[in-house]
Amino acid sequence: MTPAIYGILFVLLAPVFGGLLVGFDRIVSARMQGRIGPPLLQPFYDFGKLLQKQARQVNPVVEPLLLGHVAFMAVTGFLLLSGTDLIFTAFVFALAALFLVLAAGSVNSPYSFAGAERELIVLLASEPFFILMMAGVCKVTGESSFAGVLASSKLVAVELPGVVLAFLMVATIKLRKSPFDISTSHHPHQELVSGLTTDMSGRLLAYVELAHWYESALLAAFVVLLFNWSIALGVVVFLVAYALEILVDNSTSRIKWQLVLRSTWVATLLFSGGNVLALFLLGR
């Protein structure tokens, strides 16, 4: 029954982890920009305020879809940690992300719609990587569950260097960082106003935030899969990678969707694909 407890712990603690991460990010970014920045707990203040604020909806399907988005992000984490097949969690992960696209798309307003389309493109760009990564992890360890991979004696990252490399790129998408933050307004002044969150207000926006925190925590869990000696090692590596992402975020502009798609696919194909191909050819 232990795996299920891990899953429940994830559902409870991931938002705290994700929120603190965002708070940390905002402070570090501000320092890089020559500013002091907000308090560490600012994301939680924002979240609390959004819950207190009136939620005005354009249509009644947005809220259920957003709840689906949050719920399935949490469910993905739960499934992952409670021992469900890794490759299947990649599909559930995509479903969770899809709910956000649908919520934004259902508004049928120009900016939300464009944001939704871009998010779909971003999904299209990132999803192959996650499937490949999970397949690679399974192939290397011969295991198919989170606990199994953790128990494996091999350090996965050593055999999947290409996947680790591509992960850095794809994580930029999932963390909604420049240069890949094309679908939401990570930086305020963008052509899509607030991208797919444009028409969401109050608690609807809070759901998106919460889901994003879960998403960040999920990425941390994925890193643990790659650095499977211990959870602590994985989390530390994730934090280092996150710091790197902040740096990249602050030293690049947002690129256009064509390049997002092309570059991510090429990276996935070359690094992850090449890596997985090598694994198969070497008969590991």
Partner: protein, 361 residues
């Protein structure tokens, strides 16, 4: 076939000011753009009916809060021409210095906004951090950060002491060095090259065809700079127009970045050449009411500005008209927006450095 229509503006985060475009998109390619403005139109030119010509300068300064100094100066120069007033030499030099400081301020402001539009928040912050130093200079020398009101018909209101000028020059040269680093980012960052390079290309022929002015024209290889006509003591300065030939958004950025250096150099020359000393005359008092008309041309940060003033011998002018650089550059912008990507629209709009309040008055 169905096409996406995006209502771009009047309220849009990439546009600090209201400008409206209906963008007709396929995927994200802009097939057509239908523009309109008018959200800032105040009827400023008509204020001549109510405001006497001596006070009108303060209204004209508020055509735009970014080139406020240049607008005030343009108005005063126009009336000085009509009334045949020769202004004291030191006043003319001071005007030139303030004008060039304004240009640096405006370019830094624009570089920041431009960077923010393509998602480079960090650069925005650094450009504006540097810009605050310029605002400090303005505050010290004129009393205002944005609206300066130092121009008078016949001269300027305030003097800057020679030591102060020397300190300003040091400060500006230091800023120029700081700016080198930022300029380096603009010049070398591959993601910026992706966003600006080859985007919104205006060839030299097109630039001539749409009659654009200022950095917009200079980035397309047209060596036009109204400062070259030599009025307002620019004939005493060594000045080469900054010209780039690529004609894309990046070229327009580079032109403005180089002009910051150029302006610092002009200020250095001016401080060298101006007459030194305390208590020199700053103003020649105008007498009577103006009669006659004039067209005045100046080079603002955004390009050539034109003033038409017609006076009829009364206290109120008969007609005042300002044709600002953005007004002349909007046709170029509309031309460039068609056929670009949605993500390029903010960059293209911003690289003309639009000042809608200038345009609409």
């Amino acid at each position: 076939m169905k096409r996406t229509v995006v209502p771009f503006g009047p309220q849009h985060p990439v546009l600090p000011e209201p400008l409206v475009l209906d963008l007709i998109l396929e995927d994200e390619k802009v097939l057509d753009a239908i523009p309109t403005i008018g959200y800032i139109h105040r009827g400023l030119e008509m204020m001549v009916e109510r405001v006497e010509y001596t006070e009108m300068g303060f209204v004209v300064e508020r055509i735009c809060g970014i080139c406020s100094f240049m607008h005030g100066m343009g108005y005063c120069v126009s009336l000085e021409t009509i009334m045949n007033i020769e202004i004291p030499e030191r006043a003319a030099w001071l005007r030139l210095i303030w004008a060039e400081i304004s240009r640096i301020q405006s370019h830094l402001l624009w570089l920041g906004l431009g960077a923010d539009a393509f998602g480079f928040e960090n650069l925005f912050m650094h450009c504006w951090r540097m810009r605050e130093q310029i605002l400090d200079i303005f505050e010290k020398t004129t009393g205002g950060r944005i609206i300066h009101s130092v121009n008078r018909i016949g001269g300027v209101k305030r003097d800057m002491s020679d030591t102060e000028l020397a300190a300003i020059l040091v400060q500006l040269q230091d800023l120029g060095k700081q700016f080198k680093k930022t300029a380096n980012v603009f010049g070398t960052d591959p993601s910026i090259a992706h966003r600006l390079g080859g985007v919104g290309v205006l060839s030299m022929e097109d630039a001539r065809a749409v009659d654009c002015v200022g950095p917009m024209a200079r980035a397309s290889g047209i060596a036009t700079d109204t400062r070259l006509i030599g009025a307002n003591y620019y004939d005493r300065i060594e000045l080469e127009p900054v010209v780039e030939t690529a004609g894309d958004c990046l070229a327009r950025v580079v032109v403005r970045m180089r002009e910051i250096d150029q302006s610092i150099d002009i200020i250095r020359q001016a401080i060298d050449k101006m007459p030194k000393g305390e208590g020199m005359p700053l103003e020649t008092k105008p007498r009577g009411n103006p009669m006659g008309e004039v067209f005045t041309r100046l080079e603002q940060p955004r390009g050539e500005v034109l003033y038409y003033v017609k006076a009829n011998g009364t206290k109120n002018l008969e007609r005042f008209r300002a044709r600002t650089p953005t007004f002349a550059n909007i046709p170029a912008m509309i031309k460039l927006v068609k056929g670009c990507e949605l993500a390029d629209v903010p960059n293209i709009i911003l690289t003309i450095d639009p000042c809608i309040s200038c345009t609409e008055r």
